[in-house]
Amino acid sequence: MLRRIFEISLQLIIKDFKVRYKGTLLGYAWALVTPLIFAVIFNFVFQHIIRFEIVDYPVFLVSGLFAWQWFSNSVSGGAGCFLQNASLVKKLNFQRYLIPLSVVLVDALHFVLALPIIVAFLFVSDKPVYYNSWWYGIPIVAFTQLAIIYGATLCVSCMNTIFRDVDKVVALLVTMLFYLTPVFYPLSIVPENILPFIQLNPMTGVISTWHGLLLHGTLDFGVLSYSMVWGTLLVMLGVLTYKQLNHRFAEVL
């Protein structure tokens, strides 16, 4: 059974990669270019117009933006995954929850492949390019993030198959969450009275832990624990939604 799930996932991941970059000139490079362009924009706005007092702002930006890109691409891009694979869902009876999983894993792979770019930024900014804590830190944070993203994507994609407005709502929520998550500002500058709300975001723990881990080699479980709770809750919510709705997919597609 596990072997089958592995085989199907692998094949779906290969399919996803191919479908995603069919007919594009830059192909996979888009996954790297997009966050870098965002970094350039934020750097321009917050270093040259509004002057943030953050040392090494570019490397701070990239150490959060790639992780955010994984989240936002998966959740908003994955919302339509059952609709995009209607011809598979309608005719074959297989573990359909693997379709959103493959979307999330393709984005995860993009994130992992972007880590060397972050290291390059560390190198250019004269920061240490390696910490021992990365060996266990990166898998722990990445796995927490994977749980959050898969739970959210599974839930959203199931609902979107039945109620097609969901992906519009999700696009708005993801944008909103971007500003409420310390991606382009550090958690330390958030005013005391707003801090609890910011900390309650699912992605806050993960993103600030990436900042700490990649820039200083520190792993703060206090901050990350919020995200771990979110990860557990979202996976449960996703599974529940899937169980409720998946038998109706073939009828509404």
Binding site: E7, K18, V19, L88, L92, I162
Partner: protein, 245 residues
């Protein structure tokens, strides 16, 4: 003989329109009346249908368009669930062969064979080692590496059929794919189906072609007005069915 498929007073409703298609706002205001409304405005595709199919039988489902034939195949394949009653299938469920079904339009024929084969239960290694035989059966020429959205209907049917040549199904569901193939390919498929029948594969077949049904099936079920109107040998049922038109 053991029963492979058993329908026990199966009823299948589809909501006639999606009650949420009006968007989130109207659906929220409609939430309270939704259940009652959905119950009254629905389409009954099958009503209290009961039959069983035994191992090795090849059964045609005949009937007019919209009678509920494809719904029956969907229920057997397990992609849709009955509203009432039970559907029991005591066999590894096989592919539902339908034009373009189980394929992704953006992938090439070759890539789709890989994906389809794995989703049907083969391992990647198994598909890889059989892919040459599969593509040879399909006879698609240079098109194997083109996205299948560029394929003609006949080519799609070829691709769909070619995968099952290598998966040794125990139960085969065929929904009108043979109709679009050319003579040469159809003959090839007839031979294949004959082979499967000799090996004791159970086949459920939806077709509008009397000669196909006569040729390939020993039994037929006539679905009329969402119910089973008659069930018997293929030639008996075909005679009755054609007299009624």
């Amino acid at each position: 003989m053991s029963v492979v498929i058993e329908f026990d007073s199966v009823t299948k409703h589809y909501p006639l329109y999606n009650p949420f298609s009006g968007g989130l706002k109207s659906s929220l205001t409609n939430l309270l009346v939704y259940r009652r409304q959905a119950r009254s405005e629905r389409f009954t595709a099958l009503e209290a249908l009961s039959f069983s199919i035994h191992r090795g039988e090849s059964v045609a489902i005949v009937g007019r368009n919209g009678a509920g034939k494809s719904t029956i195949l969907g229920l057997i394949a397990g992609v849709i669930q009955p509203s009432e009653g039970t559907v029991r299938v005591n066999e590894r469920v096989s592919p539902l062969l339908e034009l373009g079904g189980g394929f992704h339009p953006e992938l090439s024929g070759r890539e789709n064979v890989m994906l389809n084969g794995v989703l049907m239960g083969l391992s990647r290694y198994q598909v890889q080692s059989r892919i040459d035989a599969i593509l040879e059966f399909a006879e698609l020429g240079d098109f194997v590496d083109q996205p299948i959205r560029t394929y003609s209907k006949g080519m799609l049917a070829r691709l769909g059929f070619s995968v099952i040549t290598q998966i040794q199904p125990q139960l085969l569901l065929i929904d009108e794919v043979l109709a679009v193939g050319d003579d040469a390919f159809r003959r090839k498929c007839y031979n294949l189906i004959e082979n499967f029948r000799r090996q004791g594969v159970t086949i459920v077949f939806v077709s509008h072609s009397a000669s196909e049904v006569q040729h390939l099936c020993d039994r037929a079920i006539w679905i009329d007005n969402h119910r089973a109107r008659a069930d018997g040998t293929a030639s008996d049922i075909l005679a009755k069915y054609h007299k009624s038109r």
